[in-house]
Every structure is written in structure tokens, then in C-alpha cells.
């Protein structure tokens, strides 16, 4: 082939850029950066995390730089960004600055939302200043509980006092939006203690709250305790605690928009909403997942192997799958139903250019007649009873 022609094709492809993809997706893109470092390992944690040393962190930052350069393709506008972990807040101010600059340098577009997760014990004034400067709009703080005894149970590294202090610092710096994460169903936590946690959280006045039911994931210290019979599962209590969260937060003026997410009007986390709507996002860092250009994949959950791949410009991916309309429709349905707004069936079917399967339609009908789902104006939404069953609903909707 002529060299000239080859070049032309390349340019054409580059020009096409974002067009070079199915029509299901808008032009916006989310970016997730996984920061895998933690001070110690929490008892319930199943995230990929390691204890970071200086050299490890430096190598990581370089790796992100390269991975970002490889991932950033012309034409794609970044709209939201999320630093999660691990404990991104554990990075020193200087390192946070490098990480933020890496993002800004490599990707085009103006971010409408940029979240950084921080553990209360890591919140420091210099770090907050850097983040603010760089354009971070939102801080998400893993409070878990305000009850020191329960915090102990989680093997957590902070106290109620530290939480309050950290919150004040964040607010002083003037971030647009703050989220607090709470965990419920901690062994020993009943409805009254959960209500108290929620009350204290709301009193601080964040515009966003997430409440997660403690899960016993394999390979965690808590799971070991469970299998040794030291702690017990109580499904009925969990159910009541879910409902307690939903009811209390609604009462306090936080609108539930997903199973575990609540926000003041207009303050939903756009980044997450976009992933649940099956938009596109790129994940950087070990274990980060991506859904991009017709494919879904995750980086290996291993710092060294991830680095190796990035260095060789040959990413180490796991769980790769090609996306197709049927799969995306299914996922948009399953994950959409986890949101309070539900999904617009017509819109969904139009977007992916295909109909629901017969069994999916049947399931939806059955859910409706069973009072687990409501239809209105083309949208379907799960009722509270339905939402409590969203995993079962999800697996039933899977083809």
C-alpha cells in the first residue's frame, strides 16, 4: 500500500475518533482512577489495595501517566472523573498534584464533576488545597460510622473526632459537593444505632450520602470471622436496616436515587449514574474496569503486573468481553432498575435497536402484578419491595 494512502487512512480514523463507535453511546466519557494504596487493610475490604512505599507510589504515578497517554484518544471528551481506591487521600499533596495534572494533560474536555475519595484520617489542608486548585469538585469521605465502638469492629483507622475535623476542613476549602459513606449492619448495630449514625451524618449537611450494607466478601477478615461463627448474618435485620436508611434519609431531605445513594436535589453523582446507564468510561490503575469502544475489561488487580503491561504498551486485562446490543440492553435494564428513576423502556429499546426478550417482558409483567414494579409514562421503576430484591430481579432478567 502507498505510504500516502496509509497515512490518509490513519488520519481519517483519528478524525473519526469518537465516531468510531456504535451509536449507543454519547460523546461523553468518564474516567476512573484506582489508587491502590492503603495504610492498613480494613476487615471488610475486598478492594484491590496494597501498602504503599515511596518507590511503589512513584512507579504507580508513572504508570498512570503512560496508561493515560495510551488511553486518551482524540475526540473523546472527558466529562466526569473519579479517584477511588484504596485510599487516594493517602497520597501526599505533591503526588495528588501529579495525578491530577496527568489527567488534565492527557484528556480533553471540561470536567463537570471530579470526585476524590478520602479517608477521614488522610484529610489534610495541603492536600485539599491542591485538589481544589486542580479543579476537583467533590470529596467523598469514607466515614462508615460515627460510633467509635462500631468503627473498631470494622478495624477502621479513624475516630468520630477525626471525622468531624476532616469534614470541617473540606468545607472550609469550599468544595462544591461532599459525600459521606456510611456502612450499616455492622455486628452490634441495631436500628437505633443506625438512626443515630444517619442523624449525625445529616447534621453535618453533606449534599450526598451513600449507605452500604456490610457484605461478607471472600478473602476478607470479616468473612473469616463469619465462617468461624464469630459473627452471624441476620437477613431480617439487614432488611430492616435497608428500610431504615431509605426512610430516615428521605425524612431528612435526601432523595434516594439508587439502592445505596441519596442526594439533595441535583446533587447526584454523575459519574456513577453514567456507568449505571451503560455509558462509556475508562479505568486507569490496577483492578480498574473500563467500558470503552465496544469492549468491557478490567486491569489486572496487581500493581506489578499492571505496570508491566502498561510499560510494554500491552495492557494486562482480565474479564474481557465484547459488548453487543443485547448485553448492553440487559445491563442497562438491570442496573437502571437499581435506580429510583428506573428506565424508559422505549428509549432503551430504541437506543440499542432491539426489543426486550420475551422472558424479560414476562418478568417485568409479573413483577408489576406482584407489586414489585410500577409503570408510568413509559418508565418502569421498582417499588421498595422490588428494590429489596434487585439482585433476584437482576438475575431473573439475565438471559
Amino acid at each position: 500500500m502507498q505510504a500516502g494512502l496509509k497515512a490518509t487512512i490513519e488520519t481519517k480514523k483519528n478524525e473519526l475518533g469518537s465516531e468510531f463507535q456504535p451509536k449507543w453511546w454519547g460523546k461523553t466519557l468518564g474516567l476512573y482512577v484506582h489508587v491502590p494504596f492503603c495504610a492498613t487493610s480494613c476487615d471488610f475490604c475486598a478492594f484491590y489495595q496494597v501498602q504503599g512505599d515511596r518507590a511503589g507510589i512513584r512507579a504507580y504515578l508513572e504508570g498512570i501517566e503512560e496508561e493515560a497517554a495510551q488511553a486518551a484518544v482524540a475526540g473523546q471528551e472527558l466529562r466526569t472523573c473519579f479517584f477511588g481506591g484504596g485510599t487516594p487521600g493517602l497520597l501526599k499533596a505533591k503526588d495528588l498534584q501529579i495525578l491530577c495534572e496527568t489527567v488534565r494533560r492527557n484528556f480533553r474536555g471540561s470536567l463537570v464533576e471530579w470526585t476524590v475519595e478520602m479517608a477521614p484520617s488522610t484529610v489534610k489542608i495541603d492536600k485539599l488545597k491542591v485538589l481544589k486548585e486542580q479543579g476537583v469538585t467533590r470529596i467523598s469521605m469514607g466515614v462508615q460510622s460515627f460510633d467509635d465502638a462500631l468503627l473498631d469492629k470494622l478495624g477502621r483507622q479513624h475516630s468520630r473526632k477525626q471525622i468531624l475535623k476532616a469534614y470541617d476542613l473540606i468545607r472550609e476549602e469550599g468544595f462544591e459537593s461532599v459525600n459521606l459513606d456510611l456502612i450499616f449492619a455492622i455486628p452490634g448495630q441495631n436500628e437505633a444505632r443506625l438512626k443515630e449514625d444517619i442523624r449525625q451524618a445529616a447534621q453535618l449537611g453533606p449534599d450526598h450520602l451513600s449507605t452500604y450494607c456490610l457484605t461478607f466478601e471472600e478473602d476478607t477478615a470479616l468473612f473469616v470471622q463469619l465462617s468461624e461463627g464469630k459473627v452471624a448474618l441476620d437477613v431480617d435485620l439487614e432488611t430492616r436496616l435497608y428500610l431504615t436508611c431509605w426512610e430516615e434519609l428521605e425524612r431528612l431531605g435526601y432523595e434516594q436515587y439508587e439502592i445505596s445513594n441519596f442526594a439533595r436535589r441535583g446533587k447526584q453523582c454523575l459519574h456513577n449514574v453514567n456507568t449505571w446507564k451503560m455509558d462509556q468510561w475508562i479505568g486507569l490503575g490496577p483492578s480498574a474496569a473500563s467500558q470503552f469502544r465496544g469492549r468491557r475489561y478490567s486491569n489486572v488487580p496487581d500493581l506489578d503486573r499492571w505496570l508491566e503491561g502498561v510499560k510494554a504498551n500491552h495492557p494486562n486485562w482480565i474479564d474481557q468481553s465484547d459488548l453487543n446490543e443485547a448485553l448492553l440492553l440487559e445491563d442497562a435494564l438491570i442496573f437502571g432498575l437499581r435506580m429510583s428513576d428506573g428506565v424508559d423502556l422505549n428509549e432503551l429499546q430504541e437506543r440499542f435497536g432491539r426489543k426486550l426478550t420475551r422472558s424479560q417482558s414476562k418478568t417485568i409483567e409479573a413483577l408489576e402484578s406482584d407489586g414489585k414494579l410500577r409503570k408510568s409514562g413509559g418508565r418502569i421503576r421498582l417499588t421498595k419491595a422490588g428494590r429489596l430484591l434487585s439482585d433476584a430481579v437482576g438475575s431473573t432478567l439475565m438471559v
Partner: protein
């Protein structure tokens, strides 16, 4: 070993009277199995037997015993099952013997299968050595047992040996009795070689392994043999004895029990009860054959994965080699697809076979509601046999239906007679006569429909009599009866596999019980599911499967859709192990569970 120093005997008794435990003591005393490797109930070698603590198959083993007279004897023992469903195993074992140890539990006394099995031994002209076992128990009643021996079995009380298999009492005396009282091998002077086939088993490496008793002549590796029932010719590849594991040996001669491997590929060609002779010097007459067993209970067995059909078929073929009483034939069902109609001797037999298919052949299966064989006289005069409710003609085409009945011999303590008579009545039976066994016990002879005693009769009998009642039965005549087909609908869809034929007056009660049990067994679903019973289109009973209340995991972070999908997929996988009918997942063992009595 000289032929006249060989002794072949079975241990027979009512279920649980201690046959296998006594075998342990004999193996131990004759040093056949060293103390170190001897496990409790050693001969119950199948996992299923060990788990359930019952013997399912007869197990042969050869021992050597030096008697007090200084002579060395070869003792071939067969431990037999006690449960009524496996009495066919007992009669085959007895056919390979000259004697039998008849065990009686000292605390229980003579029970129904004691009598039935003793009769089998008498029919085959065997020497019976009565052993009163478990004399160590505080509740042992020797006087009663000895009296029953004379009164009920016509065996002189002085012949009885008092023993405790558990504590090793009376073992020497039993061994002496075997050596001295049991007759030497019979039919040795035939002239030609005659070897009886009493069992077989499929081995993945060697193919069919044939269990044999040599009556005359000898047999060894390289011999050209003939299966006399159909003149199949084969060559012997290996012979050996049971120690109790299989051990190769040179030759088997008259009076020996052992095994044989030959070059017959097709397992179906081995027939239990066949006679083997030499090709070049053939016997004129076969050994007395076995009475053919007719399955009494039928049920469909289907693979959960339709693609497992061939695997299931092959597995059943091999299993049949080890269980001649089990039969199967291809059939199909609307709900379950392609499978097999299988015949069994009883419900325990059915349960055991299903479990063996699952374990030994690694196929997930689901079974249908069991049925007996009905005779249906059609309006047009034709009479058909129906062993599957699906095949019952439309009521308008039926003149009358006849159902099989049994003659049951029931032993019960005097004080429970009232309750037992009520039970018999409840099961649509009639009591023909009662007889006093002794001051504490009665024997009832009753006629009952077979389909009524299948499910929970024995359990209820046991619970009414606090374990002291027992029953034996044999097939009796067919009787006209008002029977109807009862359909089961799950979530509004009829499931043919769950249909059954029931008596008209009992449909409502049975339907209710069935629906409730099924509703209990079907796991919680996303939706409320109705289980309904219907006769002729009318709903007669209904129950609901509980709907689940919570199944949600909160976290769904970092865009890790794949991880979440995997979680949901796992749930789905759980459902795949079940049979999905409509959108209801039914566990494969649902019907075995439905049949289990949970009355007490």
C-alpha cells in the same frame, strides 16, 4: 481345599438385627481382615450404605476357620440386606448357599422379614442356624425370642445360639456351628462344570465382573465358556475370590464363591441366574434359575440437562448389571423432555437407584411421582396396563380401573391393634384375619392397595408401634377401584411429571398434602408461586411458595459491571442446577422429598 470342607452360608434377618455387625466379628475372628483395617460394618462398602447404615447389596467374602476338631474349613459368607425392597438380593444369595444364619434381635424378637427370609431359606432346603443377637441389650427378652422361634418358625429352641455381635459374644460357637451343622456343597457330582451367576458389577477398567458360585468342576483363566441361557461364548480373562476385596486366584472349584471376568463387552449380555459351563464339555441342564422379579413401582427419571440423555442411558445400563431388579425404558414428558420409565421394587429401592445414578454416573436427574401398574378396561373392551398417569385414558373412555393389592403380614404389639386397624382402614385396606403370636404380639393379615402402602405406611406403622411393628408383603390380586388422575399445576402451568393416580375419595386430602409439601420444597422465588392440584379440571387444593423478601447487595462501585454480573450469574447458576418449568425452578430431588414422611 477339599470340597467337603467348604461351607456356603448367608446371614439373613429383619432389617437392623445386626447382620453386618456379626459379619465384622466373623471377619475378625477368622483373621480375614486384620484389626487394623477392619471398619465398623465393614462389608457395607458402598458410600450410600455407610451413610445410611443399611445394607443395600449382598456382599460375599471368603474366610478360613480352623475348627475345634482340628480341621480347616473354607467359609463363604454372604451378608444380605434386611429391607423388604431388597429381598430379591436375599433370595439370590441363598441360592448360592447351603445354609443360613438367621439372626433375631433379642430386644425386637421375630419380625415380619425374619419370617419372610426364614421361609426363603426353607424353600431352598437350606440348613438354618438361629442366632439370638444383641443379648447385651438390657431390653433383651430371651425367653420370648426362644418361644417365638419354636412357635412362629418351627425351629427347635435348643438350636439357637446366644450372641452379641457388638460385644463379640458367641462368635466361636457360631463358627463351629457353621462348620459342623451346614451341609457341604451340593450338586458337585454333575460330571460337567456348572457355575451359577448370582450378581455382577460394572468396572470401568475390566468391564463386567460376574459374581459366581461354582457347583461342579472348575473354572480358570483361558477357559472357553458358554452362558447357557443364550449360548453366548466367551473366554475367561480372570478369576478370583472376595477377601472381601477382589483378589485374583488360579482356579475356582466346586463349592467356591468368587468372581470372573471374561471378554463379553456388552454388559447387557450378563444375566443374573444364568449357568456357565465349559464350551468343550457342556452341561446338559442349567442350575435352577431365579424367579424373575417384577418391578412394582414405576417412576420417570429424566436428566436435568437434556444433553445428558445418552450419559444417563449408559449409566442405567451399567447400574442394571449390578441390580437386576431395576428396569428402564425410554419415554418422554411435556415438562421434562426425554427420559426413562423405570421400575423398582419399592420406594427405598427407587431412592437408592436415583442416588446411585447421581453419584456413580454423575448425572443430575429429576424423577416423577411414582406409580404402580393399573389395569384399565376401556369402554371398547380393550384392557391396557398403565404405569404412568399420563397414559391414563380420558375418563369417558374408561369402563373401570383395577389396581394391584398386596397381602400384608403385619406384626404388632397387642396394645397398638386399634391404631393399626385404623391405619389399615385409612389406607383403604381390609384385615382378613388376626392371629396371636404370643402374649404380647399379634399378627394381622391384610389386603391393601399397593399404591397406599408405598409412601408412608411403614413409617406410620413404626411410629404407632414405637418401632415394634413390622410388615412383609407380597403381591395379591387386582381389585376394581374408583381412581382418578390428579394433576399438579405450578404457577398455573400443568406439570405432567407431577401427576398421580389417586382414589377419588382421597384426592382432596392428598392434593392438599402434596401441594403443601411441594410449596415447601420449591425454594423461595422472586414471585409468589401457586401450587395447585386439580382433578378433571377442578382445582381441589392449593398452596403458595413463599416469596423472598430481600435479595440485594448494596455495592456497585467503580463501574465494575463485570463483577456484579458475575455475582448475579452465580445466582443464575444455582437455578440451572434445578429443573426450570415455566419460570419456576424445581429442585431435582423434589419428589423424593415430597414422599418423605414428616408426620412425626
Amino acid at each position: 481345599m477339599k470340597t467337603d470342607h467348604k461351607r456356603n452360608f448367608s446371614i439373613i434377618a429383619h432389617v437392623d438385627h445386626g447382620k453386618t455387625t456379626l459379619s465384622d466379628r466373623l471377619l475378625e475372628h477368622t483373621a480375614t481382615v486384620t484389626q487394623r483395617v477392619l471398619t465398623e460394618q465393614h462389608l457395607d462398602s458402598m458410600d450410600l450404605e455407610r451413610e445410611r447404615g443399611i445394607t443395600i447389596k449382598s456382599h460375599p467374602v471368603t474366610m478360613h476357620y480352623k475348627a475345634k476338631n482340628g480341621e480347616l474349613y473354607q467359609l463363604n459368607l454372604m451378608d444380605t440386606p434386611g429391607h423388604v425392597d431388597f429381598s430379591y438380593e436375599v433370595s439370590r444369595s441363598l441360592a448360592a448357599c447351603e445354609g443360613a444364619l438367621l439372626l433375631i434381635d433379642a430386644a425386637q424378637g421375630v419380625e415380619a422379614q425374619t419370617v419372610a427370609n426364614a421361609n426363603l431359606a426353607v424353600d431352598q432346603d437350606l440348613v438354618i442356624i438361629p442366632v439370638i443377637n444383641k443379648i447385651d441389650l438390657p431390653s433383651a427378652n430371651l425367653d420370648l425370642c426362644l418361644k417365638q422361634l419354636e412357635d412362629l418358625l418351627a425351629i427347635p429352641a435348643e438350636e439357637a445360639i446366644l450372641a452379641s455381635a457388638k460385644n463379640g459374644i458367641g462368635i466361636e460357637e457360631i463358627l463351629e456351628a457353621i462348620a459342623l451343622r451346614i451341609a457341604p456343597p451340593r450338586w458337585t457330582d454333575c460330571g460337567e462344570t456348572r457355575v451359577g451367576v448370582f450378581d455382577s458389577v460394572y468396572d470401568a477398567y475390566r468391564g463386567a465382573i460376574v459374581y459366581i458360585r461354582a457347583f461342579s468342576g472348575k473354572i480358570k483363566r483361558g477357559d472357553q465358556i458358554v452362558m447357557m441361557s443364550d449360548n453366548t461364548r466367551a473366554e475367561v480373562k480372570e478369576v478370583g475370590v472376595f477377601t472381601p476385596s477382589m483378589q485374583k486366584s488360579e482356579t475356582l472349584t466346586a463349592g467356591d464363591v468368587g468372581y470372573l471376568v471374561c471378554n463379553i463387552k456388552n454388559v447387557a449380555e450378563i444375566k443374573i441366574g444364568d449357568t456357565i459351563t465349559h464350551y468343550h464339555n457342556q452341561a446338559k441342564e442349567m442350575l435352577p434359575g431365579y424367579q424373575e422379579v417384577r418391578p412394582l413401582v414405576f417412576s420417570g427419571i429424566y436428566p436435568v440437562e437434556t444433553s445428558d440423555f445418552e450419559k444417563l442411558k449408559a449409566g442405567m445400563g451399567k447400574l442394571q448389571l449390578n441390580d437386576a431388579a431395576f428396569s428402564f425404558q425410554a419415554e418422554s414428558s411435556m415438562a421434562l423432555g426425554f427420559g426413562f420409565r423405570c421400575g423398582f421394587l419399592g420406594l427405598l429401592h427407587m431412592e437408592i437407584i436415583q442416588e446411585r445414578i447421581r453419584r456413580e454416573y454423575d448425572v443430575d436427574i429429576i424423577s416423577t411421582y411414582p406409580s404402580v401398574i393399573y389395569k384399565v378396561e376401556k369402554v371398547i373392551g380393550e384392557v391396557i396396563e398403565v404405569d404412568n398417569p399420563i397414559n391414563l385414558p380420558d375418563p369417558s373412555a374408561i369402563e373401570r380401573i383395577l389396581e394391584p393389592t398386596i397381602k400384608a403380614t403385619i406384626h404388632v404389639p397387642n396394645d397398638s391393634i386399634g391404631d393399626i386397624l385404623n391405619l389399615v382402614m385409612d389406607k383403604r385396606g381390609v384385615c382378613d384375619h388376626t392371629e396371636t403370636l404370643d402374649e404380647t404380639r399379634l399378627m394381622l393379615v391384610c389386603n391393601l392397595p399397593l399404591n397406599e402402602i408405598l409412601v408412608d405406611f411403614n413409617d406410620r406403622l413404626k411410629s404407632i408401634t414405637r418401632g415394634y411393628g413390622s410388615m412383609d408383603y407380597e403381591l395379591d390380586e387386582y381389585r376394581e377401584s374408583k381412581l382418578v388422575k390428579m394433576d399438579i399445576m405450578v404457577n398455573g402451568e400443568p406439570v405432567d411429571a407431577f401427576s398421580s393416580i389417586v382414589h377419588q375419595d382421597k384426592a382432596r386430602v392428598k392434593g392438599k398434602v402434596l401441594c403443601e409439601k411441594l410449596a415447601d420444597i420449591i425454594p423461595m422465588h422472586l414471585f409468589k408461586i401457586a401450587v395447585q392440584a386439580a382433578v378433571g379440571g377442578n382445582i381441589i387444593a392449593r398452596a403458595n411458595v413463599r416469596a423472598m423478601r430481600k435479595d440485594v447487595t448494596a455495592k456497585c462501585y467503580g463501574g465494575d459491571i463485570s463483577r456484579k454480573r458475575k455475582l448475579l450469574d452465580k445466582q443464575k447458576e444455582g437455578k440451572r442446577k434445578m429443573k426450570n418449568i415455566g419460570n419456576v425452578s424445581i429442585p431435582p430431588d423434589a419428589f423424593i422429598k415430597v414422599l418423605k414422611n414428616d408426620r412425626d
